[in-house]
């Protein structure tokens, strides 16, 4: 059997594929963060809590209304986005003129409140959520067994990321958005409703987090802290990619999934730290991040 550094190549392929799947979650979450930071200048620390809300709404729909996975995939993001929009209108919008730090503090506080509420209501150990019937089972790829559901996660994530990128880079709406990021006052002078656009962008970013939450529900434990464990890594991804760079966030998400996957094979103890080591190195060499522009 062929080996690379003592690991059979087949096993290595398997691990790379798994890394890509994890990268899909990083990509979806960091995309939302990058979008929000780009337009709102808010470092959205409540992103993890909103991801958790997505998963919990899916569970609530199933438990209390009998609504299955596919319906949840549509309703949960909408419901969480509405919640996000309310937060943006009544809280965040007051902070745009202030330093980044205030937005960070507010969203961090929000995250604590949301997580605390869910912990109080549903406890800490999490809720069961099964893989939908249509996506159970798996394919034998020869080098590994790939659950159909994991394949679906990668496809869904790629479609979402690509779709968002096209929307922002290739459509007129995206052009307004990018213009507003550069100079909001000028764009507003042309008669475009910038505050409305800001609100909708925040809603969109939040919806992305909620979709990631629903996608995660069947494979990870659905508990109130599931977001806070992930959000730190996702922030590292955004920093490595370059704050505000959308393509950077997506590519870095997948890349770091791969790096983490490899670490899990060669030195598993370091799997949770490797991303931060990469972050430190990138910041030393390119302080604006891999895809960021120096402002």
């Amino acid at each position: 059997m062929m080996t690379i550094f003592g690991i059979p190549t087949q096993a290595l392929f398997g691990q790379l594929l798994l890394g890509l799947i994890n990268g899909a979650f990083y990509a979806m979450l960091s995309l939302g963060l990058a979008l929000i930071f780009g337009l709102l200048n808010i470092v959205n620390f409540s992103h993890g809590a909103l991801y958790m809300m997505g998963a919990f709404v899916a569970w609530l729909l199933l438990t209390y209304l009998g609504a299955g996975y596919w319906l949840a995939l549509i309703i949960a993001p909408l419901a969480v986005a509405v919640f996000g929009i309310i937060c943006e209108r009544f809280l965040l919008s007051r902070l745009y003129k202030l330093d980044h730090l205030y937005g960070l503090l507010l969203t961090f506080g929000l995250a604590l409140v949301i997580e605390g509420l869910f912990r109080q209501l549903y406890g800490i150990s999490g809720m069961p959520y099964a893989v939908p019937k249509e996506l159970q089972g798996g394919w034998n790829l020869g080098f590994m067994y790939l659950p159909i559901y994991r394949g679906w996660v990668v496809v869904a994530s790629l479609v979402l990321c690509l779709g968002s990128w096209l929307l922002i880079e290739k459509t007129k709406l995206g052009a307004y958005l990018r213009a507003a990021t550069e100079n909001a006052t000028l764009v507003q002078a042309f008669g475009i409703n910038v505050p409305m656009m800001v609100t909708l962008t925040y809603g969109f970013g939040v919806a992305l987090a909620a979709i990631a939450g629903v996608l995660a529900a069947p494979i990870y434990s659905v508990n109130p802290l599931m977001g806070s464990n992930l959000i730190i890594v996702v922030f590292a991804v955004v920093v490595i990619g370059g704050m505000g760079s959308i393509l950077g966030a997506v590519i870095t998400g997948f890349l770091l999934g791969l790096v983490e996957g490899l670490t899990k094979v060669f030195y598993p103890e370091a799997a949770s730290t490797v991303i931060f080591v990469v972050m430190a190195i990138v910041l030393l060499i390119k302080p604006a991040g891999l895809f960021g522009k120096r402002s």
Binding site: A130, M144, Y145
Partner: protein, 403 residues
């Protein structure tokens, strides 16, 4: 003459007051529940342990030899420094006579040091690690519900004897995980099994697919999960997803609580073998307690840690009443002397190292079709006699054990 009589009666008064004070400090017995009220362990321990302690005090009649019993509680947030500073404050200035529950080994050991130094009682229910009854043992410290030795011995023995000879471990990379893996390996090897390998995963960890594939390619029959809480839940959930269990390999959860099974759902958890110190649906006594407990906890049945707190608080109160004092050493001696007889422990006894020896149970998680409703999760397969379940006294490294 009058003067003399006055002095005599004054002396007698002082003497009697002095005696009363020596018996029960502050003229009451005060118990503190120090636990995780907000973190990872707040479901299996947490608020439920306060409720269990309240029930124990009410069932005892609320008084020890006519003096009131008081209960206080605090959140140690699973941090050793917070736990030890609360313990110090409680023992020193707030007149707490015994601290109970103490989930998380680091917090438990921190409180043990303080209690030992002050000659006060500490009663462990939630913490798992064996050092509490080995080199960290104390004349006034007790370990009640379970420990890593009992969990490993119970589950690993049963699994190896039913043919699961080769093992691969997924181990949480911190003291508890290492301890649990070492204890299990010992049992596996002693029974003629072999260990094919292990992987240490970061704590906490959400995605286990990579580690599960490594376990799969090892070819081991059994994948031992030397972790707890959300890590165990994620590993089991994903093992099913990756077809590990369908492929013939079996999972052995080495520390699984009923709250974990509740969170996994029977569909995913069915068939799993585990060891537990208590299950609510065993006999009249356990059902009666659990029903009353559930009424106060929104229908949740007690975990073994919560039931253990009821038992330890009750036993402490009995001993404090029999010893006619709340002085640490004297109550501790009485606790060792009296047998423990309640719904939790039948013929339980406390050894020199502070271990409360009682029967443990080997259980299997029911299939969804076998379950009659919420919390109907386990089939008890075997009662593991206390002497077989826990580490033999001869192997203890506790200095209090005379050899």
């Amino acid at each position: 003459m009058i003067m003399k009589r006055l002095m005599l009666s004054a002396a007698a008064l002082a003497l009697s007051a002095g005696v009363a004070q020596a018996q029960y400090s502050d003229n009451k017995v005060k118990i503190g529940i120090l636990t995780d009220l907000s973190g990872t362990y707040s479901d299996l321990a947490g608020k439920g342990t306060i409720v269990a302690a309240q029930m124990a005090i009410e069932d005892f009649g609320g008084k020890v030899n006519g003096l009131p019993i008081e209960l206080v509680s605090a959140d140690h947030q699973n941090k050793a420094d917070i736990a030890s500073s609360i313990a110090r404050k409680w023992y020193d200035t707030e007149g707490v006579d015994a601290i109970a529950e103490l989930v998380t080994t680091a917090a438990a050991i921190a409180v043990r040091e303080v209690a030992k130094e002050k000659g006060k009682i500490d009663l462990n229910s939630g913490a798992a690690s064996t050092p509490l009854t080995n080199d960290k043992c104390s004349p006034t410290g007790f370990h009640w519900t379970y420990d890593t030795y009992a969990m490993a011995a119970g589950t690993a023995n049963a699994v190896v004897k039913s043919g699961g000879k080769s093992w691969f471990f997924l181990t949480a990379d911190y003291a508890f995980g290492h301890n649990l893996q070492a204890q299990t390996e010992r049992v596996v090897k002693a029974n003629g099994g072999e260990v094919k390998g292990s992987v240490r995963h970061p704590f906490p960890n959400a995605d286990f697919s990579s580690f599960l594939l490594q376990a799969q390619s090892s070819g081991a029959q059994i994948i031992g999960l030397a972790n707890a809480g959300a890590d165990t839940i994620n590993a089991i959930k994903q093992a099913k997803e990756f077809g590990i269990t369908q492929g013939g390999q079996k999972l052995a959860g080495l520390l699984v609580f009923i709250t974990d099974v509740n969170s996994l759902g029977l569909e995913t958890a069915q068939g799993m073998v585990l060891t537990t110190g208590f299950y609510w649906d065993m006999d009249e006594g356990t059902r009666a307690f659990s029903k009353r407990f559930a009424e106060r906890m929104n229908g949740k049945m007690p975990s073994m840690v919560q039931a253990g707190v009821y038992s330890q608080v009750t036993h402490y109160l009995k001993a404090a009443a029999a010893a006619k004092t709340d002085e640490g050493i004297k109550v501790a001696d009485k606790m060792r002397e009296l047998p423990i007889q309640d719904f939790f422990a039948k013929n339980g006894k406390i050894r020199a190292d502070g271990r409360m020896v009682h029967d443990m149970y080997l259980a299997q998680v029911k299939a969804p079709a076998e379950s009659k409703g919420p919390w109907d999760y386990y089939k008890i397969m075997r009662t593991i006699p206390g002497d077989e379940a826990f580490q033999p006294l001869a192997e203890s490294t506790c200095p209090l054990v005379k050899k």
